[in-house]
């Protein structure tokens, strides 16, 4: 029994030493990150390439959730939860419902790309947008926020209700306007 235990300990220690010499910790970290990243990116690619528009919408959700997992993996569970709740929950369901309720013809070929001209236009616009985002994110000086926010959500709440009260309120007003607009449109329909 003791011999067997010694053998197992030896194998385990050898394995751990080898793993340490190969920087396994960094490797695992990176591979989880890239796995989540590829899930998001491939799902986003599927949104464009799928023939069925409902599949596209579901893949869009997968992409949202992949990004949410990335946030959680990078130690910001609050942002991850917001991503899950708002994008994975509300926005995705809104899109899927709208698609299912408005399209009547065959769903299998509902996401056909129109002409070459349209595709070229879409490529140019999204390329330009991608360029803007990349430039903006490369130019921005990112600050370490964690010290300011502390461990708790209290820090975040303080920031939102003092320093960043204006953007917070503007977002609230925007949502209120959207809600009233939706009510007005829905009221206008003739109910028989």
């Amino acid at each position: 029994m003791n011999e067997l235990l010694k053998l197992v300990h030896g194998v385990v220690n050898w394995g751990m030493d080898t793993a340490e010499s190969m920087n396994a910790g960094v490797l695992i970290d990176a591979s989880v990150f890239y796995a989540l990243m590829w899930v998001s990116v491939l799902a986003a690619l599927g949104v464009v390439l799928c023939r069925n528009v409902v599949h596209s919408a579901l893949l869009l959700t997968a992409s949202f959730i992949g990004v949410g997992c990335l946030y959680i993996y990078m130690d910001s569970p609050f942002i991850g939860a917001v991503q899950f709740l708002v994008y994975g929950g509300a926005v995705a369901i809104l899109i899927v419902m709208a698609l299912m309720l408005t399209r009547r013809d065959d769903m299998a070929h509902s996401n056909l790309s129109r002409s070459l001209f349209c595709q070229a236009g879409a490529a140019v616009i999204s390329g330009a947008f991608f360029l803007c985002i990349s430039v903006a994110s490369l130019m921005t000086q990112f600050r370490e926020m964690s010290a300011e926010l502390g461990d708790s959500v209290t820090g975040l709440a303080d920031m939102m209700l003092t320093k960043y009260i204006l953007p917070f309120e503007v977002a609230a007003v925007l949502l209120l306007i959207a809600m009233i607009g939706a009510l007005v449109i829905a009221k206008g329909a003739h109910e028989s």
């Binding site: 599949h55 917001v82 994975g88 899927v96 419902m97």
Partner: protein, 347 residues
């Protein structure tokens, strides 16, 4: 008594694994998987126990005997028989369904139901992930179970399934709002969203069911609606739409829907216990006993609801959420805010 805690059991398992492996780091890694396995084990055990319990509770409320053939006078082996039956059933794939989405729906439905078990404090120090935004993350994850229902409803290529899917969305989205606002009262009193802090705050003072009775009632009602149980089971309404989103599923795929449903039933009972009934705290007995006693009592309460109240109509149900529960929850939140402010300025 000291040794009867879950933490002590975990320590013992850890020492055994450490003896075998002889490496601290690897033992910690293995212990993470043991924790995951324990969460999954709780869910699967619950599915077996709760199907039997539901049949028996239902039977006694209707002055029947319930299962009494398989496994002795009390039908104790009935869940095993159910399981064997479900596994041996033919897997019927409906014509013209959207194959991939149809097959993914029951699997994806189970994921959020199982995931939130990682956030529950079962006993002192026994919580898989003690996140500082625990309550919020929990609500965010559980909101993900809406889309799989809709996927199943859409992909089955059946009218009834589709109506069921649409109803799921309307119902679960409407009742999520009052549920979130009822929990905010608890979070405001505690001043933290960490699950263990909420349990600790109740151990120091009183159970939140006494401080937040309205929130407790709102939470119970909306949790029943969130898990699609009677009186709010419009989603799988047998007398109107066959079985809603699961109408076209059979065998193990159908069983996965029910596994998720019972996982949800247990998790709302655990949530009620954690937020309103003091979690694992209690006198004399070890925490884990108190925890499961309270949780099983809440499970019984939810079953009691199921066999007591008649089913509501979908429009009544939605207007009840938006016109009664949500305003009530907001008013409760306002008064809680005033109360907390007054209490803090008095201290």
């Amino acid at each position: 008594m000291e040794n009867l805690t879950v933490g002590a059991a975990a320590e013992w398992i850890r020492s055994v694994i450490l003896l075998i492996l002889g490496n601290e780091l690897l033992t910690d890694v293995v212990m993470k998987f043991v924790g995951l396995g324990a969460c999954i084990g709780v869910i699967l055990t619950a599915a077996i126990v709760l199907t039997y319990a539901e049949r028996k509770v239902c039977a006694f409320m209707q002055v029947r005997l319930g299962p009494n053939r398989v496994g002795g006078r009390f039908g104790l082996l009935q869940p095993i028989a159910d399981m064997l039956k479900l596994m041996s059933k033919e897997d019927i794939i409906p014509d013209g369904c959207d194959r991939i989405v149809w097959a993914l729906s029951p699997m994806l439905l189970f994921v959020p139901s199982a995931l939130i078990y990682g956030l529950f404090p079962f006993d002192e120090g026994v919580v898989f992930a003690d996140v500082n935004v625990g309550v919020f993350l929990l609500l965010a994850i559980s909101s993900q179970s809406v889309l799989p229902f809709l996927m199943g409803g859409y992909a089955s290529n059946s009218k009834y399934a589709f109506i069921g899917g649409m109803r799921t969305v309307a119902q679960m989205l409407s009742y999520e709002a009052p549920m979130v606002f009822s929990l905010l009262g608890v979070v405001m009193i505690t001043g933290s969203m960490r699950m263990t802090d909420i349990v600790a705050a109740q151990a120091e003072n009183v159970w939140f069911v006494l401080l937040q009775p309205i929130a407790f009632i709102i939470f119970i009602i909306s949790a029943t609606a969130e898990t699609n149980r009677t009186p709010f089971d419009l989603v799988e309404d047998e007398s109107e739409i066959v079985a809603g989103p699961f109408a076209e599923y059979s065998g193990m795929r159908w069983a996965l829907f029910f596994l998720a449903e019972y996982a949800n039933l247990l998790s709302i009972s655990i949530l009620t216990t954690t937020f309103f009934l003091g979690g694992w705290h209690g006198p004399f007995l070890p925490g884990v006993f108190w925890f499961w006693m309270k949780v099983l009592f809440m499970v019984f309460v939810f079953m009691w609801f199921r066999w007591t109240f008649p089913r509501t109509r979908i429009d009544q149900m939605l207007s009840f959420s938006w016109k009664v529960l949500l305003p009530l929850a907001l008013v409760n939140m306002m008064f809680t805010g005033i109360g907390v402010y007054v209490w803090r300025s008095m201290m």
